[in-house]
Symmetry: C2
Subunit: 186 residues, 2 copies
């Protein structure tokens, strides 16, 4: 059984090493991890971005499940590229799992970045845009997609010191995926 | 023919009025616009967020196409809720269209928010995370999904003064959708 490993991990300085750790964890649970950087794409070619898109989509189509790293990336919410892939996987009716290494609720994360006030009974940011306030870790579409097509978002009890390298929540997702997919440990 | 109108428009102070304008534009082009706020959901109920998710998903399943407002929201990239919906629609093989009222390339938008430097031949932000630098307006997954499942991202030539209320690029998407879906003007 194959699992697509979505996440902004590919943007880390040690992206390749993290991918290796993730696929090793998958293997220990009887699953094959598909990591985007393992695609053989010439990243300097003129059409590199299209080639990466096609390779990632083919990996998702081949996978039985997705594990999305929804740890907040460059802002209050998850990495949009990863979120696109979670949506695509849900649309393709794959088993969907996700984790975030920051358990704060979304509204509190927005407060870290900008002023948030209460207006007419709901929260708004400094630009007057509503701040989603359902006590969830991120936008409701992702959170409920995970519950509908797989398992609830996995988070640690507290925000981790190294949100990009701790793989405890990731391994919990792998364990859930293996159970749901009926994988056999090697 | 029905078009799902995805976007952070629902977070604007005048969200309902914007939705009305968008559905009116759709109607003028022979299309029925499905706007998330038109769902009859009790937003104060305990399970409001799940009800909104289900109602939005039902709207997407019923739609023939999606028009996603990918104007940057609360950061350098598009609203993750909207991006999830674009991914879902692509996964369901709906016709996918999108626009952004900010034509800047992604790397330049990140530069507005944080320091970006060149390291080992690629751009990184202040946290050492790679900044995608393919000259695209946003993450490559969304940009190429639009090309693969519909039409290229529509943007104005210059960043608009009022990025949240100008509907010129939106109407261009409606025109493209009507053409592709073979809609008949009323």
């Amino acid at each position: 059984m194959q699992v697509y490993l979505a996440g902004p991990d590919v943007f880390l300085p040690d992206a390749v090493a993290i991918g290796r750790q993730k696929t090793d964890i998958c293997a220990r649970h009887g699953l094959t991890g598909l990591y985007p950087l393992d695609n053989a794409v010439d990243r300097s070619a003129a059409d590199a971005s299209l080639a990466i898109f096609k390779a990632n989509e083919a990996m998702m189509d081949a996978a039985d499940a997705i594990i999305a790293n929804l740890t907040p990336f460059r802002g209050a919410g998850a990495d949009p590229g990863t979120v696109y892939e979670l949506g695509y996987a849900a649309g393709r009716r794959k088993l969907c799992l996700g984790y975030s290494n920051d358990p704060a609720v979304y509204a509190d994360r927005v407060r870290r970045l900008t002023d948030v006030i209460s207006r007419n009974g709901h929260l708004v940011d400094a630009d007057g845009l509503t701040v989603e306030d359902f006590g969830l870790s991120d936008n409701l579409m992702m959170i409920h997609a995970l519950e509908s097509y797989g398992c609830a978002l996995v988070t640690p009890r507290q925000r981790l010191a190294d949100i990009w390298h701790d793989l405890t929540a990731f391994e919990a997702c792998v364990r859930l995926a293996a159970e749901r997919l009926g994988a056999t440990r090697p």
